[in-house]
């Protein structure tokens, strides 16, 4: 719809957002200097190490929205991240069609609404943290090429939105995620209460460095079954999400639990959760978050392997337990405290301190300061 009834040209609107983030990690070397790993604490603490860095967490995005008329629109977003050497990439590019006032269909590259903040995860201006906790907000992929359907039913004082997607992810560096299908239902009551539930399934295939020889070992020993179950090869993963958000007067409360079912693969079921509380005082918000990062490994996969018969087999079983199963299981806490200052209409200054632990009692802290904006 255009303001001047006779306008025929496509109207293009530009907008964007960005974050300049400075951060430094401190603590045990096992975490701070860690370059590899498969948990949320890999590569230091969320990618930060012991030196002050402004590149790792900073990024900018430009979005172009075109109104093509007849309820058709096109959206393009290009993002440039410091940690990717500022190389621009299309985060999404899709056509949208408004079937009715309440129902929009998207076709093209779009974000998957796994979690409460997934849709606008990069728009730091829209929430209180500098970036949402990586223990939950680090899905294996964030966008798909496919179809999306967003339908909102508005009641007198509440609304119910269903966002469903189906599509594929573009394979990269040995990671393949296919046949992505799922959706999320969000119920909002009188603007202050939000309840959300989501379920997304996809088929995964990838290899983690160092695991290949272990699986080969099991096959050579005559236990292909063990290798097939533990390996990630066309295995169905399911990401669930249960979240609640309360935004009442000056108080904010969020609780989210987002388990990932990975079948029998050695990755182990992820069961991260968190609660976050915030209080607004004038244009400052103070917040504190507590959560747990839990991984439950499928140790039972080795139950049928006889022990004490063959020392080589025992060695393989032990290596598998230590390196892939109980050795990587985890149930560790994380804490975040921070402040957000809305000093300007379109920008906010944020400070944040986070503390994490790994499953071997190592701990690390992260200090961040960020200037975030939307325009």
């Amino acid at each position: 719809m255009s303001l001047i009834a006779s306008e025929a040209m496509a109207e293009i609107r530009f907008s964007g957002f960005g974050s300049v983030v400075g951060a430094i990690a401190a603590g045990d070397d096992e975490i701070v200097d860690n370059e590899a790993g498969i948990t949320a604490t890999d590569a230091g603490v969320n990618g930060y190490h012991g030196d002050l860095s402004f590149e790792t967490g900073s990024f900018f995005a430009i979005q172009a929205d075109a109104d093509l008329g007849d309820n058709l629109g096109a959206t393009l977003q290009i993002m440039s991240r410091g940690k990717d050497d500022w190389e621009p990439e299309f985060s999404w590019a899709f056509l949208s069609y408004d079937v009715t006032d309440d129902w929009r269909i998207l076709a093209g590259r779009q974000r998957v609404p796994f979690y409460l903040y997934s849709d606008y995860l990069d728009v730091s201006y829209a929430y209180h943290w500098i970036s949402a906790p990586a223990q939950i907000y680090a899905p294996p992929f964030s966008s798909i090429d496919g179809l999306g359907s967003i339908y909102t039913h508005n009641f007198e004082n509440s609304s119910l939105t269903g966002h469903f997607v189906i599509g594929q992810d573009t394979p990269s560096e040995g990671f393949q995620f296919e046949n992505i299908l799922g959706g999320a239902l969000t119920f909002n009551y009188n603007d202050w209460l939000t309840l959300r539930v989501g379920r997304f399934q996809f088929d995964s295939t990838f290899e983690v460095e160092g695991t290949g020889p272990v699986f080969d070992g099991w096959r050579a020993a005559g236990f292909s079954d063990v290798a097939d179950r533990l390996e990630v090869n066309d295995d169905e993963f399911i990401i669930y999400d249960y979240a609640m958000q309360i935004d009442y007067n000056d108080w904010m409360f969020i609780a989210e639990y987002s388990p990932i079912d990975v079948g029998d693969t050695f990755i182990g079921h992820l069961k991260p959760w968190m609660v976050s509380v915030g209080k607004r005082i004038d244009n400052v918000m103070l917040h504190a978050t507590y959560g747990r990062y839990k991984i439950e490994t499928p140790n039972y996969v080795l139950n049928d392997v006889p022990t004490g018969i063959n020392p080589a087999l025992d060695g393989l079983a032990q290596a598998t337990q230590q390196g892939l199963l109980s050795g990587t299981a985890e149930d560790t806490p994380y804490y975040i405290v921070g402040a957000r200052w809305d000093f300007h209409d379109s920008a906010a200054l944020k400070f944040q301190y986070s503390a994490i632990e790994d499953n071997k009692n190592n701990s690390a802290n992260l200090f961040q300061i960020a200037l975030v904006t939307v325009f």
Partner: protein, 137 residues
């Protein structure tokens, strides 16, 4: 000491300025006969309703001047930063777009008086008879 006094003066002056609050008038085209409540206005300006109670298409327009903060606070019950955050969640996910932003009371009056689907807000003192006031806060 001098710096503190200067800062305090600035803070005091801005607080006093805010104490003299402007009255906000929500306006529509004179031919718009719909009965519109504050809740309806809030829903239209937050993209939750796309039609007036009578069924006509509703197109909200905002303006980027002083009365905007008053409008956001009194009618939407949100600070301007909260409104901005609210729209960022929709804009940057392709789910919606914020109302067109004009630059003055005069521009809002000019556009609203010409299009029966528009709804806007202005400083109550700027109201003239080319538009119809449906709410004052």
């Amino acid at each position: 000491m001098k710096k503190i006094i200067n800062v305090l003066t600035i803070v005091l002056v801005s607080v006093l300025n805010q104490a003299v609050l402007a009255e906000v008038a929500i306006i529509v085209h004179p031919d718009n006969a719909a009965s519109i409540s504050k809740t309806d206005v809030s829903k239209i300006f937050l993209g939750k309703a796309k039609k007036f109670p009578g069924g006509e298409t509703a197109i909200p327009v905002t303006q980027n001047s002083g009365v905007k903060d008053e409008f956001n606070d009194k009618v939407l019950n949100k600070s301007s930063s909260q409104v901005k955050a609210f729209w960022s969640k929709l804009v940057f996910t392709g789910k919606g777009s914020p109302p067109k932003e004009l630059s003055s009371d005069a521009e809002v009056i000019s556009m609203v008086s010409k299009n029966p689907n528009l709804i806007g807000f202005i400083d109550a003192s700027a109201v003239d008879d080319s538009v119809k006031v449906i709410l004052k806060k």
